[in-house]
């Protein structure tokens, strides 16, 4: 059985939330949807060991949330501290205001910013570009598999998808189980003579690189 990767969606507007949920379900992702920050925190807490979202879509402005006991900043801070391997997009009507950017990026320094005034379609296009992307001779298919294009062989693991979505950034994996899955993906790439290779930066940090020569790793001192 395939475990579809999760996407956390925090959006206070019920109609927009429904639209985003439908979009991700159609793409075979499993949406963890919340209309309030406290609900999003609860979803993250309850799924702490069983699942870790590949992507989080966070609405910064939660004026319509049914419960205001926590803020979007609290969710971003939790993601930055405990789910560093999750790519994060934050959108706001006020994304141009430098104080809003400050608050977002102090909560989550690696969050990607999106202007809500460009409309929901623009956000979905950006998300699709991230999730349907190709890296070298690899591409993500249906949100659940990484396909090696020349052989059409498939690799089914959400950590492999995470690495492709994050390319060229480093991903920090949270457990030995996850890093074992990543190393198996690296072996799979080597066995398929892919143009993409797995690079280890130590301390459970990995990234994909699209180069032909092998990269030996020289241990450092720091």
């Amino acid at each position: 059985m395939r475990a579809n990767p999760e996407v956390l969606i925090l959006e206070d507007d019920a109609e927009t939330l429904d639209e985003l949920q439908t979009h991700f379900t159609r793409k075979r992702f499993h949406p963890l949807a919340a209309r309030s920050a406290s609900r999003a925190l609860s979803l993250l807490e309850h799924n702490r060991y069983s699942s870790r979202p590949v992507l989080a879509i966070v609405d910064w402005d939660l004026g319509k949330a049914p419960d205001r006991s926590a803020s979007s900043g609290d969710v971003l801070s939790r993601l930055a501290r405990e789910l560093r391997e999750c790519a994060v997009i934050v959108y706001s009507q006020n994304i141009d205001a430098f104080n809003v950017r400050n608050q977002i990026q102090r909560s989550h320094p690696r969050a990607l910013l999106h202007d809500k005034r460009d409309g929901d379609a623009s956000l979905l296009e950006r998300v699709d570009r991230m999730l349907d992307r190709s890296v070298g001779d690899l591409r993500i298919h249906d949100g659940t598999v990484v396909v090696h294009a020349p052989s059409l062989d498939q690799h089914h693991h959400r950590e492999a998808i995470r690495l492709v979505v994050h390319h060229p950034d480093i991903v920090t994996f949270h457990s030995d189980t996850a890093t074992k899955a990543v190393r198996r993906f690296g072996e799979w790439l080597a066995a398929h003579e892919s143009t993409v290779r797995l690079v280890s930066h130590g301390n459970r940090k990995y990234r994909l690189a699209v180069t032909v020569p092998q990269t030996p790793v020289s241990p450092g001192t720091d």
Binding site: S77, N102, P168, D169, V217
Partner: protein, 237 residues
């Protein structure tokens, strides 16, 4: 408080409505409208910017955060994470950058702890205006923000003898080897300038560069170290 004084205060029909920001107390509960940010309730001790990480970091110290927004525009996200700091939390944020920040960009005063980090670790320091007292002489000073930002961008893309910053952390040598060491990252960023380096880091970098036939080597310049072309006359400590 007297009951008479309380009559003028906004009184929502129910506690639940007050919590939702409806009724007479709506303005004080913040308006439930799209476009108004509601992120002020973040617990500052839990901010993501304080999360420890070994990804290469640029710490930007300013009073209002405006400089950090500008620096983020010029730093490629795959090269470094920009951490927005205020003078009072800069030392804590720098401590979360493991093993130490790659670069500190400043436009404000810094605490004694932060100055110590800048003096004792190989950290690139770029300052807008006069650097505060206690910082090392290697701090690069800029009078205009544009010049500072140009320098930050150029440093992120620095290349010396085929060596350049690898995404996230480490240095890619000319033969494709990934060298995981923050000291060499600092030396490449400082080039052609110099930076303070421990003897141990100096020896390790010398050995690695020689082993991989890199035409450059660390060289002493008084108390500081720079990257210089390797020759038979290069003096090694």
């Amino acid at each position: 408080m007297s009951v008479w004084a309380a009559l003028d205060a906004p009184c929502p029909p129910t506690i639940h409505e007050a919590d939702r920001g409806h009724g007479p107390s709506r303005p004080s509960a913040s308006i439930g409208a799209e476009g108004l940010h509601v992120g002020e309730t973040v617990n500052t001790s839990m901010l993501g910017v304080l999360a420890p990480d070994r990804i290469r970091s640029v710490v930007v110290v300013s009073d209002d955060g405006e400089l950090a927004v500008a620096v983020r525009e010029v730093v490629p996200p795959e090269i470094a994470v920009v951490r927005d700091a205020r003078p009072d939390d800069a030392a804590a944020i720098a401590a979360a950058c493991l093993p130490w920040p790659w670069m500190v960009v400043g436009a404000a005063a810094v605490s004694r702890e932060m100055a110590t980090v800048l003096r004792e670790r190989p950290v690139l320091a770029l300052w807008l205006g006069s650097p505060p007292p206690g910082l090392p002489d290697t701090v690069r000073r800029f009078d205009r923000p544009a010049a500072l930002l140009d320098s930050v961008a150029a440093t992120c893309n620095a290349e010396v003898g085929g060596m350049r910053l690898a995404p996230g952390s480490g240095v890619e040598l000319h033969d494709g080897t990934l060298f995981r060491g923050a000291s060499l990252e600092a030396l490449i960023g400082a080039h052609p300038g110099s930076i303070a380096l421990s003897s141990r880091a100096f020896r390790t970098i010398s050995d690695v560069l020689a082993r991989h036939d890199v035409a450059w080597t660390p060289a002493r310049e008084g108390a500081l170290v720079t990257l210089a072309r390797a020759t038979a006359m290069t003096v090694r400590s």
